[in-house]
């Protein structure tokens, strides 16, 4: 019923020299849709995202398959500190991206940047005194990286573990912000996470990866409730339980 997908990945294979790292990975995404990519550490999730972004690390090459996409992608990288420029203050970095990507005046760029930072719950004091990445906590850096990706107004947002460095209340707030912006701006999203609960809440579709391939894919809820592949089952069994909080209205 919908128009053609805005992202189509078919039979994607990536290799470093003779070593195959990703093989035969495929999925497609419509505008406004979210796909969760979960699975084994080292299974090729980050490399898949980088291939979509067109920014594979040195030494890794696409050796097969196609990636079709008509829109601009932006990525929130796994290691927030490494993806920021250590020598440039953070508000400046967000401002620069807004200025170049949204083509507004310097003054407007600053206003938009500060709005984004406020929306993501960063310290108010940044408005007066800008800081270098090394002067922020891990979770604060991660939010700067999210702000930069959102400032690009992407058609596809690629998220690589965007909330692992955040406490759960901030995480909740950020996920709500991303969902709201997704509804407003209608971008598609590929969301890599080790947190199955987050994947289920945020994404309608899920792909489970192991050793460079997708071992199972499908509708998020039914996949988690009725896993077919033993690896998916093992992942679900490894989710750590929490005791019931007394006096909480459990839904």
């Amino acid at each position: 019923m919908s128009a053609s997908p805005i992202l189509e990945v078919e039979e994607l294979s990536l290799a470093a020299g003779s070593k195959t790292l990703v093989s035969g990975v495929g999925f497609s995404l419509d505008r406004g849709e979210s796909l969760g990519l979960v699975g084994e550490s080292g299974s090729g999730k980050s490399l898949t995202l980088r291939a979509i972004l067109g920014l594979l690390p040195r030494g890794v090459e696409q050796v097969g398959g196609t990636i079709k996409s008509e829109v601009r992608a932006a990525m929130i990288f796994q290691d927030p500190r490494k993806s920021l420029d250590p020598l440039c203050p953070v508000v400046r970095q967000v401002e620069e991206v807004v200025y170049y990507r949204q083509q507004v005046s310097r003054k407007a760029a600053r206003t938009i940047a500060l709005e984004l930072l406020e929306m993501l719950g960063l310290p108010d004091s940044l408005k007066q005194t800008d800081r270098y990445p090394s002067q922020l906590s891990g979770g604060q850096c991660q939010r700067i990286v999210i702000a930069i990706a959102l400032a690009c107004k992407p058609g596809i947002l690629l998220c690589d573990e965007p909330t692992t460095a955040l406490d759960v209340t901030v995480q909740q707030q950020i996920l709500a912000t991303i969902t709201r912006l997704q509804q407003e701006l209608d971008f598609a999203m590929v969301f890599v996470t080790h947190n199955l609960a987050i994947a289920a809440t945020l994404c309608s579709k899920l792909c489970v990866m192991k050793q460079g391939s997708i071992v199972e894919h499908g509708d998020a809820l039914s996949l988690l409730q009725h896993p077919q592949h033993p690896y998916t089952q093992m992942l679900i069994d490894s989710v750590l339980p929490l005791p019931e909080l007394e006096g909480s209205a459990s839904v």
Binding site: K82, V168, M234, L242, S248
Partner: protein
């Protein structure tokens, strides 16, 4: 039981900002204290003070009965090891994994030169990595693999106190589970005392004996694990526990199955 680590009245400033405000804390020998709390509340700062990487403007850190001053001996350094929140910046990118692991082993004289290779392989196996990793460089690994290398390096020198700052956040849940089991095993084998920082309350529940909660540079709650998870004593802890994302199955089971 005796106290392995005691922190008294620690205060840390970054310029005019108070990152730690008179924090006092005790960790009993052979127990694990889980440290949770707001992003930016000072958890990593506390870890860095204990590891001797920054010095406080006020307060002290006691290892057993020893007061740890600004300058620590090699032995004192060996006793307290730290796994960093972003392991990447703690690796020399020009060194192979073999060099990275061997350096710590030799510096602290854990094994002699002829046994280094074997020990490196054992260490990698303990974090579920293949020994073929030894000849490769940090950038050739995924985020979770690098985190496991950092864990192997910290454990290699057989510390008595291990500070782990989000050590499993980049791991899939199944590897995470095996690493947590490894931590628990080492805890009894090496008589390890741990300070374990994480935002993942499931992880904190699995690993901790006691839980401390930080907010805005202060400790707002220190409690036993059981109390914290079922009857926390502050509204903030309750807020945290309520915000944990839930698996969909628990809401939907009993449906049309």
């Amino acid at each position: 039981m005796s106290t392995a680590l005691r922190i008294e009245d620690l205060t840390v400033h970054y310029d005019h900002f108070t990152a730690l405000d008179k924090v006092s804390l005790e960790i009993q020998q052979h127990t694990t204290l889980g440290l949770v709390g707001e992003s930016g509340s000072g958890k990593s700062t506390l870890a860095r003070v204990i590891a001797g990487l920054i010095s406080p403007v006020q307060g002290q850190v006691l290892l057993g009965s020893q007061n740890l001053g600004k300058k620590r001996s090699r032995e004192q350094h060996k006793k307290i090891q730290m796994i960093f929140q972003n392991p990447d910046s703690s690796f020399n990118p020009k060194h192979t994994i073999r060099q990275i692991l061997a350096e710590a082993l030799l510096f602290h004289q854990i094994v002699d030169r002829s046994h280094v290779d074997r020990r490196c392989k054992e260490l990698l196996a303990s974090v579920r990595m293949d020994e073929s990793a030894l000849g490769r460089y940090p950038h050739e690994f995924s985020g979770g693999q690098r985190q496991r290398i950092a864990i192997a390096r910290a454990l290699s020198v057989e510390p008595s106190i291990l500070i782990a700052d989000e050590p499993t956040s980049a791991l899939d849940v199944s590897v995470q589970l095996s690493i947590l089991e490894l931590f628990n095993k080492l805890k009894s084998e090496l008589n390890l005392t741990m300070l374990f920082i994480s935002h993942d309350l499931g992880v904190i529940h699995a690993i901790s004996d006691n839980v401390a909660v930080m907010r805005q540079g202060r400790l707002v709650e220190v409690n036993t694990k059981e109390q914290f998870f079922t009857r926390p004593s502050t509204a903030y802890s309750r807020e945290l526990l309520s915000a944990v994302p839930k698996m969909p199955t628990s809401q939907l089971s009993g449906g049309f199955l």
